[in-house]
Structure formats: structure tokens, C-alpha cells
Amino acid sequence: MILKFSISLVGALFSFGAFAQFETADLENSKNIILKLGEGQTKKSLVALPSIQFLGNPQINPDFQKLGIELYEVIQNDLLFSTFFQIIPSRNYLEDPSKTTLQKFDFDKWRQIGTEFLVRGGFKIIKDQIELEIYAYDVAQKSAVVSKKYLGNKRDVRRLAHTFSNDFVEALSGQKAFFLSKFVVSSDRSGSKTKEIYLMDWDARNLEQITFHKTISFSPNWSPDGKSILYSSFAQRKKTKTRNPDLFLYELASKKLQHFSYRIGMNTGAHFMPDGKNIILTLSQGNNADIYRLDLDGEISKKLTQGPLGAMNVEPSPSPIGDKIAFSTDRSGNPMIYVMDKNGGNPERITFAGKYNASPAWSPDGKKIAFAGWEVDHFDIFIINADKTNLKRITQAKKPGGKWSNNEDPVFSPDGRFLIYTSDRYGPKQILISNLDGSEERRITQDSYNYFRPKWSKNLD
């Protein structure tokens, strides 16, 4: 008794959940052998996703089929890209969903074909608005995980579907998905000799060109609130008629364009600090390409790297909480990834392998850094822990001709579960997505243009 009391007292000292701790410890120390089965293997959940039913009058709304298909395709695509689910083919259904309602059907008929989750949705068209009524059921529990009505403009039909996908994944995993996020990217879509900045939904839809400089515009990036874009461009200066890689700040809502930093030489690789109050970028004042911090007036508030000896310091990338900055530098010979404090102190070399490591990007939890690494004749994507351990190759793919493809510009997804990067394995540089272990690689853009340095926003309103 005294012993038990003292054990629980020790437990209380070490943990707030003293009781739970003691209970578990008691279990583990009991005479019974405990078979530890670990985390187990992971598997995909089987989802049945019947067509989204039209609940209105087909004669008044002749475009219902198009909208219904679009709703269905967006949800299907979202669920597949989440990698959590496998969708049951409709030929396996034991019940005809069109003969039952969204809320009254036979759970057992779905359970018998292995369905774990059943998504039943229907929509109405009210003038220019769509009302999507949709349920996600846990078939084993015979209960709804999500039951919602979404109302939005017909134009925003994809947005409605993405919103449901986000809610469904969040209801299961407790973590927000990324289906309402966007990419900003530089692309040669408007002509092979120019690059302009484009916005697109994460699934490469709703493409929108935001720059029209008719020159090379590159290295775009989001402000933390997702309302502005920073990018560099060789746009001609109005007064002097000269060109220089200057930095611009573009406000998406007001379309206001600000010539942000126009110092002679490079004004590139700009990145907002997470607090949105500072911008870090590479300036090549004098001979060295060094990393500087600017305030929101465009004034230099600090020079963060000092050479040394003509070394270049480029591609700064702040950690998610802004306490560290990863960058690439050739100060030790070959370009490698380094991490320094936000004020430039304590530079520390992170990568030692390969011949050329570039474009570092942090995971949202600040524990990992992805980068592009060159060894013999091509770039591949790698992930390393911020504490320099566990270096892993994520990509390794050949082009149709048999040569190794280049995989560059990695960025983590807002939920930290995926990476996107550009790859020339299909010919042009396309955007790909994969899990953090390199599995489930999929192509996001499906065209013949080149994309450079995509950056991923948070979920946008």
C-alpha cells in the first residue's frame, strides 16, 4: 500500500496525468505478459462515393448534369489525393443510390461490400446559387461523420466541393487538409521566351495570370496571410529604360503593384518572415550575393550573411516560427544547405552529401528540411531532419529516353503530409506531388508548359 502510494506520488511529480500514468505502468508491470503490437500497418479506408444527386427540377436547370459531375469529380480527386482513401467502384454496389435518399438507405448493404465510409450528396440550384447537402457516414458505427449544407455561387462549385473534402478529412484525422489552398508559380505559358507569375488551385485548376511584364518574372512567394505575392522580375524600369532583377509586391485583392526593392544587382529569392513584418531576400550589393532583411518600407534592416570570401548566400527560407533561416551557400566549396538564427548568428551546415544542394524548404512543424540535391548529372528531392539526421531521397525517376530526370524546388503542403516539386520526367517541367517518403507520386499539372518554383499557400478564404 505504501509502495503503491509512493509510486503514484512519483507519478504525480512527473506528470499531470498521474492517475493515467500509474494505471498504464501498473498494466505494463503486471505479471501478465504484454504483447506489444506497435503502430500496425497503415491501410486506406474504403469509401463509397455515389454520384451527387440532383434534388431540383431538371427542366428548370438544364446545366445540372455538368455541375453534378464537377462536384463529384472534385470530391473524388480530393479524397484520392489525400491518400487516406480508396474509392469503391460503383459496379460493386448492392444498393442503387438513386433509389434511396441521402439519409435513408441500408447500411448493411454498404457494409457487405467493405465500405467504411459512405458519402451521399445532393444539390439544388436556386437562381445563381448551388446548395450542396452532403453526408459522410461511418458505416460500421451507422452514424454521420459530416452532415452539412453548403451554399455558394455556381461559379464556386469547385470551392463548395473542396470545402466538403476539407471538412471530411478534418472530421476523421483532426487535421485540416489543404483542398482550399493555391499555388503561385512562374511559368512560360504565355510564350517560350518569357515567364510570368500564375496562381492556380492546388489541383491545377482556376489558372490566373497575375503578371504581364512580358519578360522573365520568377521566384514568386506568398505573404503569410495569403493576400499578397512577392516576386522578382526583369521588368523594364520606366524612367531609365533599364532592366534589373527587381523585387515586386502584388496585392491580390486590389491588384496594386509595388516596386519593392530595386537595388542594382540581384533582388531575388524573397520570402516573408512568418510574422509578415519583414522580408528576407538575396541582394548582390558589391560583389557578394548575401542575405538581407528588409522592413515593409523596403529599407535594409539587417545584413544577415557576411560572405565570406566572395561566397554566395542565396535562397533564404524562414522556419515556420521564424526563429531560423535555412539558405544555400558555397562558403565551404560546393553549395550546401545551412541554417542560421533569424538575425544571422550561428550558421550551421546541415547537408554534407552530394555536390550541389539548393532550394531548402521547411516542413510546417519545423522538424524537416526538403531540398534539391545534385550528385552526378541531375537534381533529386531529398528530406533531412533539421538536426542533420535521416537524409532520405524522395525522387528518382527516368525520362522516357532513359536519362535521369531533374526534380527541383520542393515545398511542403500546408498540412505537412506532402511535398510538391517540379520534374522534367515527362519533358516539360511539371508540378508533382508525393508523400514524404516518396510514395504515391502523382502529376498535378497536365500540360506541355514549364513551371518553376511553385509555392503553396495555406487554405484561402
Partner: protein, 245 residues
């Protein structure tokens, strides 16, 4: 004769050269000192030496992804269910509620019977377990402690059991990590899992259910040797699902 003038010439030249050299060195040193005072240079940045290695980058390691074929439903041997007539019919209020949910009466009755059977077995096990090993009267119980070779064999069996159950233990990727539950199982002499009891829930409904399903799928397990059948049937074994990171 010829050696001495050469010697004098050499030492003179040497002395002059030495003085000249010293002068030049001193003047260079002086000019640097003056320069250092008059034109201070930029601050030098001293950094610790870095290891510069050329290491090959690692190859891509592909993980295994488990997908299920939705067309096939796995059919497993069902656990032996005692005849319903032997079972007590009381104390099953939660099952009554389930009646309202289901529509097909026949199927539901079967399921109900099965659940009743499982529950009653659990109850019977709890009742029987302490009694079976109790030493009463002038008899000596064989006891459940295993020692020596038997203990080794038992451990070997346990490890086999672990591999067997682990094969059936998988969970969806969306389920959070750091969930743990403990389930006690009872195994009969033929290897069937005849009962299971949630000792400590993970607090997550889905996770607990998956643990329960895993056990059902794993039955029957490898047949235990006669020596430790009693332990497995009465004391059972505790399974720990999940782990803390």
C-alpha cells in the same frame, strides 16, 4: 691562395644582403602597421572550420503501401460459438437499443445471438478463472508458473503469437498516432480466441474497434502446447495496440 679573397667577398656580400633584407622586411612591417592604424579594414568574420566531405546522396527507399481489393471480402474461420440455449439471456440492455437501428430481423437475430454468446463467455471466464486455480482442501494444484525449458517454449509461442496477430493489425492512415489500448484475450486449446476484454481504452472509438476487429481476424491463432493451455484459457494474455512516440 685563391680561396681567401672569395671568402672575404662572400662574407661582405652576405652581410650587406642581410642588412638590406632586414631593412626591407622592417619597412614592409612598418607600412602594414601604419596602414592598419590609418585605414582599418572591414571586420573579419571568423567561423569554425567546416567538414567538407563528398558523400553520395542516398537512394530512394520505397515503402510498402497496403491497399485492399474492395471486391473480395475476406472470409475467416469464425470463432466457436456455444449453443445459444445454454446462455443466460439477462443483462444485455445495450443490444436492445441496436434492435431499433437494424431492419432485417433475421440477420440481426443472428448477430444478437453471437454477441450474447461472446458476452456470456467473457462473463463465464471471469467467474471460472479464479476458481479453477484455487487450491481447496487436501489437493495440490499444478499451478500456472512455468520455469526452465517450459518458460522458453512459452516465450517462443508468445513471439509466434505476436507475429500472427501483428499480420492482422492495421489501421487507417488518418487515425492519429499516439493512441494506445490494452485488450486481454483468452485462447482455448484449439487456438480460438474465446474472449476479449478491453482493459484500457484508447479513448478513441475507431481505434478500440480496430483493435477488437484485429483480434477477431487473428482467430484462430497457432495452437498452444498442452503445458500452457490453462494459462492462456484462464489468465489470458494482454495485447497492447499502438505505441507512444
Amino acid at each position: 691562395m685563391s680561396a681567401s679573397p672569395t671568402k672575404t667577398f662572400d662574407s661582405d656580400f652576405f652581410r650587406k644582403a642581410l642588412v638590406f633584407s632586414g631593412g626591407v622586411h622592417l619597412s614592409i612591417l612598418f607600412s602594414f602597421i601604419v596602414r592598419g592604424f590609418l585605414f582599418p579594414s572591414n571586420t573579419l568574420v571568423f567561423e569554425s572550420a567546416m567538414r567538407v566531405d563528398l558523400i553520395a546522396l542516398p537512394d530512394k527507399a520505397m515503402p510498402e503501401i497496403i491497399t485492399e481489393n474492395p471486391q473480395k471480402e475476406e472470409k475467416k474461420a469464425s470463432p466457436p460459438v456455444p449453443a445459444p440455449k445454454e446462455l443466460p439471456t439477462k443483462e444485455l440492455p445495450p443490444l436492445e437499443n441496436e434492435l431499433d437501428l437494424s431492419k432485417t430481423k433475421k440477420k440481426q437475430k443472428q448477430a444478437l445471438d453471437k454477441l450474447k454468446a461472446l458476452e456470456s463467455i467473457e462473463k463465464m471466464e471471469q467467474e471460472i478463472a479464479p476458481k479453477s486455480n484455487a487450491v481447496k482442501g487436501n489437493q495440490v494444484s499444478s499451478g500456472n508458473d512455468l520455469t526452465g525449458l517450459q518458460k522458453l517454449q512459452y516465450n517462443q509461442y508468445i513471439s509466434m503469437l505476436r507475429t500472427h496477430i501483428k499480420k492482422n493489425w492495421y489501421k487507417p492512415d488518418w487515425l492519429k498516432r499516439n493512441l494506445i489500448c490494452y485488450v486481454q484475450i483468452f485462447i482455448d486449446e484449439k487456438g480460438f480466441i474465446i474472449g476479449q476484454k478491453m482493459i484500457k481504452s484508447s479513448g478513441h472509438k475507431n481505434f478500440d474497434q480496430l483493435a477488437t476487429e484485429t483480434i477477431a481476424k487473428a482467430s484462430p491463432v497457432p495452437v498452444p502446447a498442452a503445458k500452457y493451455q490453462a494459462i492462456l484459457k484462464t489468465e489470458g494474455l494482454t495485447l497492447k495496440f499502438g505505441e507512444t512516440e
